[in-house]
């Protein structure tokens, strides 16, 4: 009985620790962006949403369209901030030495996006917070 309780407590603490680590990681990414970008992310995102900052009407990934207007022009992110030279040691996602998709114009680690596009983040929510119980695999 005592052993079971101790094991459950250990698992709960592990899950809590993992969730905290994840939160810290995304906060670090936002801090890094803030360091890189000389604007207030929350304020800028709001101005883009309200139309106060003009990012163009045309959607698309090409230079000159909204995507790069927002990230490169308004936020001032350098190309190398998103287009990294290679994946981290993350074998379950992509082969590190060969891109299986031809659409990726260079490697972009979505962890960069997660920093701002997380739940309750400054940018449009794309990713949900996994929560304590869902943050790690068993």
């Amino acid at each position: 009985m005592r052993f079971k309780f101790a094991a459950l407590l250990a698992i709960a603490m592990l899950l809590l620790f993992a969730a905290c680590a994840q939160k810290q990681e995304t906060e670090e990414v936002v801090r890094e962006v803030e360091k890189e970008v000389p604007v207030n992310l929350w304020e800028t995102a709001e101005k883009i949403r309200s139309g106060e900052i003009d990012v163009g009407e045309e959607y698309g990934m090409e230079l000159g369209k909204r995507w790069h207007n927002i990230h490169a022009e308004v936020l001032g992110l350098k190309c190398s901030y998103c287009h990294i030279s290679g994946y981290a040691d993350d074998f379950l996602y992509q082969r590190r030495y060969k891109l299986p998709v031809r659409d990726a114009p260079g490697v972009v680690d979505r962890a960069i996006c997660l920093g701002c596009h997380k739940q309750n983040g400054p940018a449009r929510e794309l990713y949900m917070n996994a929560g304590v119980e869902g943050a790690v695999n068993p």
């Binding site: 698309g60 990934m61 995507w67």
Partner: protein, 219 residues
């Protein structure tokens, strides 16, 4: 509620790419694009090295970031938990490709045929109206795995249980010679997929994104 998903046993997968070939043929995926592909990596150090194969396809997330990112609202999740792209609504903005943390959405930039001389195969020569809406792909749209929704839909119409036989399962499942792929209702505790998830160590990829994938990997 029904929530269809896949379970892939990595211990059984031998990396033969039968699933990749079956998907290509079934869905007429054009050269260069892959709705289904196999990642591989090595584990360990010589001489104790092991090769691991990880078949990848759309994870049919419960919280699909591609759906949220699409400015044209062309991506939807149906009542059976399958994430689908409407080719009529898709404007080719490619936001979905950028938002997907799994790299499984592809863009059709030009029409390519499976025959190397540019000639169309009999199926490719079919007019769009003669095909299932999910096979009416055209240049300038994004495409991805549909979990062979055209097969599931047909099975449901015929009153069959999806996954019960060859024709009512996604094409990649019954062709696997190692029997590493399982398809079924994740919300039904008596289904094979639910039992496997409950009894084995099942992981979902990129859980930190909160996407809640409906593809599980047994490790």
């Amino acid at each position: 509620m029904v929530r269809y998903g896949l379970v892939i046993d990595l211990a059984k997968c031998i990396g033969c790419r039968s699933c990749v070939a079956a998907c290509k043929v079934e869905n007429m995926v054009q050269p260069g694009n892959h709705w289904n592909f196999v990642l591989e990596y090595e584990q360990g150090k010589y001489p104790s090295v092991r090769r691991i194969f990880v078949p990848m396809n759309c994870q049919h997330c419960e919280n699909p970031p591609c759906m949220k990112a699409c400015p044209a609202k062309a991506i939807s999740k149906n009542e059976y938990g399958v994430v689908l792209i409407d080719y009529e609504k898709c404007r080719g903005y490619r936001y979905c490709i950028a938002a997907c943390p799994y790299g499984v959405i592809h863009f059709i930039d030009e029409e390519k045929t499976l025959y190397p001389n540019g000639e169309k195969t009999p199926y490719e020569a079919l007019p769009a109206e003669a095909r299932h809406p999910l096979h009416r792909k055209k240049p300038g749209v994004a495409e991805k795995c549909t979990l062979c929704w055209h097969r599931i839909e047909k099975a449901l119409e015929e009153g069959k249980k999806p996954g019960s036989d060859y024709d009512s399962s996604p094409a990649c499942v019954p062709v696997c010679p190692a029997g590493a792929r399982y398809f079924g209702d994740l919300d039904d505790p008596s289904s094979e997929v639910s039992k496997l998830i409950a009894s084995r160590r099942a992981i979902q990829l990129k859980k930190e994104y909160g996407t809640r994938p409906q593809v599980y990997y047994l490790v």
